[in-house]
């Protein structure tokens, strides 16, 4: 059994999948964080016209399985709208709007935890609401939510495996192909190791950020 595995081509094939996973990860993070902040801000606007759609979006995204959301966005356009879609783009889109929902609630919790005195002090000094939000509120929110964002990022690394259900050739799918080829579970073990390495990098990155933000307390 073992002698049948061509290790170098296995590693290469798994690395290809890893690159795909990393691409998916980066695109999702870069798009969903700003989107999440925007949604958090919208969620806090006191008009029902805006709040209700936002709350609905948050409920759907966090209340249904991501794997089903992926499948929905893959099959809905061709079946209902008659247009073709690229698997990878669908994955990026679906992951982005899903994670943006989680980030939005994390941001909102962070924003609401900043003492109102901060906003009041900024206001009496003459700063505009926008200036206050960007310069006073958001920097403090970021410091508070870094540990939670780190956790969500590590979940995202692992969630990239879900893109396999719509045929994206990421790490998990490639490991599955190799299992079929070689009738061995070793590819999965190696895949697990690759996920661990990716998440170790993510974890170390956020630890660094936490350290940098510790230049002040409070």
């Amino acid at each position: 059994m073992l002698s049948a595995i061509n290790y170098s081509s296995m590693i290469t094939f798994l690395l290809d999948g890893t690159v795909k996973a990393v691409e998916l990860f980066f695109l999702t993070i870069v798009l969903s964080l700003p989107l999440g902040l925007l949604v958090a801000r919208l969620r806090m606007i006191k008009f029902k016209v805006i709040q209700l759609p936002v709350k609905f979006y948050l409920l759907i995204m966090r209340g249904t399985p991501l794997i089903l959301q992926l499948m929905f966005f893959m099959y809905f356009p061709p079946l209902v709208l008659g247009i073709g879609v690229d698997r990878f783009m669908v994955a990026v889109f679906s992951f982005t709007i899903n994670y943006a929902a989680y980030f939005a609630e994390i941001f909102r919790g962070g924003i609401e935890s900043i003492p109102v005195g901060q906003q009041e002090a900024a206001y009496v000094l003459g700063l505009s609401p926008f200036q206050t939000f960007i310069r006073i509120t958001v920097p403090q929110v970021v410091k508070r939510i870094i540990p939670t964002i780190a956790g969500e990022s590590m979940t995202l690394v692992k969630d990239t495996a879900l893109a396999s259900v719509i045929g994206v050739t990421e790490l998990f799918r490639n490991a599955g192909s190799l299992k079929a080829t070689y009738s061995s579970v070793i590819p999965f073990a190696v895949a697990a190791l690759f996920y661990l390495i990716m998440n170790s990098v993510v974890s170390a990155f956020f630890s660094q950020i936490e350290k940098k933000l510790n230049y002040y307390k409070g």
Binding site: E120, V124, L125, Y216
Partner: protein, 253 residues
């Protein structure tokens, strides 16, 4: 006398609770007015209304010659346009009981942030002014420190520097020493005293009776949303008014 603040028939409630009831007062330029009274008397609400952190239901408020709000014919307060409101905000300052310094900024940046962002001063100009203020307030060696590294008294002095950097015509203090350990109140009161010597118009809500007596041109005693009594420190402290006597006896030494 140059009237710098005019509050006339102002009312404010929070739900069922009437916090200010048809309150009126004026302050002249260069005056130091202390506002004393029990908790819930509306003293802080008055300061917050003038500084636009709350909205009055009815009344007329004018600050530095500009109208903040006035009564319409139904007796409801109508506020001026955004530009006027902003101009008023820039002409006065408020020092909070809990300082509310920006924790992610150095002391220097706390003081320069508003001048740079709001008054559009250059960073160099703002820093020069900030350094002069910090020196005056005894905080020169703390310019690169962060708020969490400072004592309460130092933080409050930094907060005062931050307010002064915007060159206000009048400063409001909302119980500036109430959150401080007794040993630290002196350094803050000293700063307020020096501002009084420079003829800064100030309204100070405080429980420090000796300070209020020594520093104020006028003392206003408030209870349950109205002014019970106002007058010179001597007049108020020796008042025969029941409520005033009752309140002050808690502070007699």
């Amino acid at each position: 006398m140059d009237e710098i603040l005019s509050v006339s028939h102002v009312s404010k409630s929070f739900g069922e609770l009437d916090v200010l009831k048809d309150m009126s007062l004026t302050v002249s330029r260069g005056e130091v007015v202390s506002v004393i009274g029990p908790s819930g008397s509306g003293k802080s609400t008055l300061l917050r209304l003038v500084n636009q952190l709350e909205r009055a239901e009815s009344g007329n408020i004018s600050v530095c010659g500009q109208v903040l709000c006035h009564n319409d014919d139904k007796g409801r307060a109508v506020y001026s346009d955004k530009a006027t409101l902003k101009a008023i905000r820039l002409s006065i300052g408020l020092v909070f009981q809990s300082f509310h310094l920006f924790p992610h900024y150095s002391i220097l940046k706390n003081v320069t942030e508003a001048p740079v962002q709001v008054l559009k001063k250059s960073r160099e100009e703002a820093e020069d002014t900030a350094r002069v203020l910090l020196k005056k307030l005894g905080l020169s060696d703390k310019e690169s420190a962060y708020p969490y590294q400072l004592s309460g008294g130092q933080q409050q002095r930094a907060a005062i520097a931050r307010t002064l950097a915007m060159n206000p015509q009048m400063i409001f203090f909302d119980e500036p020493t109430s959150a401080l350990d007794p040993e630290l109140t002196g350094e803050v009161l000293k700063v307020i005293r020096s501002l009084a010597d420079e003829h800064m118009t100030m309204v100070v809500v405080t429980h420090e009776m000796a300070f209020a007596g020594e520093l104020s041109d006028r003392i206003i005693f408030m209870d349950q949303g109205i002014i019970i009594e106002e007058g010179t420190p001597d007049a108020v402290f020796s008042s025969e008014h029941e409520r005033t006597k009752q309140f002050l006896q808690h502070y007699s030494k």
